[in-house]
Symmetry: C2
């Protein structure tokens, strides 16, 4: 369950930190699908996209739907096939928006002597 804590992040941050997007990017199969759509660089059917990884077609279908819901890819139906497209530019723009929000939310403060702790 994705529970949001009260006052978890500054408003601007909270608006752009989309858990769905990060969850998608944290798993290898969706990541592979994003790369696959990128290298094909053209509307790609579920069957074509499935060549990216050794998983069942239904798994690919589900992941693509998840990516669509997360706003990372777009879908268009043509007859009996559905063609997916990824906009790396759009995804990059979203990451930059988050970066902007991060820098804006909390002014940096110099710390005296940050020493790494061995793990």
């Amino acid at each position: 369950m994705v529970q949001i804590y009260k006052g978890e992040a500054p408003a601007a941050l909270e608006a752009v930190l989309d858990p769905a997007m990060f969850k998608a990017l944290g798993d290898p199969t969706p990541t592979a699908l994003i790369a696959r759509l990128g290298e094909r660089n053209a509307p790609t059917t579920v069957t074509e996209a499935a060549e990216c990884c050794p998983v069942d077609l239904s798994v690919v279908s589900r992941h693509l739907a998840m990516l669509r819901d997360a706003g990372i890819v777009q879908a268009e139906r043509h007859g009996r096939e559905v063609r997916y497209t990824v906009s790396h530019q759009a995804l990059a723009a979203r990451l930059r928006t988050i970066a902007d929000a991060l820098e804006a939310c909390c002014p940096e403060e110099s710390t005296c002597c940050p020493t790494e702790v061995e793990r």
Copy 2:
């Protein structure tokens, strides 16, 4: 298990798409911790950080360690306490690096008529 598919992403992308970072940002507790460290804006102990959310102190300790391993926060031990610091600037920089890699990897191509498919 985080399995990396062969040729999952262009080299430049693969180098910056860190699953550990995205996994951390996809869960509310680590996100709340990042925000907590940001608003305090100074080295923060585990006990202080734990005020961010209604979870056991051990959970906070584990999440902070995970964030440290993911390179998102830094830790320094002072006596019996460990003080954590987050650099929003550094995190923002990493996101921008990913954005750059995304834009560089696959030249955009215009699609004819991207129509959303109802879910």
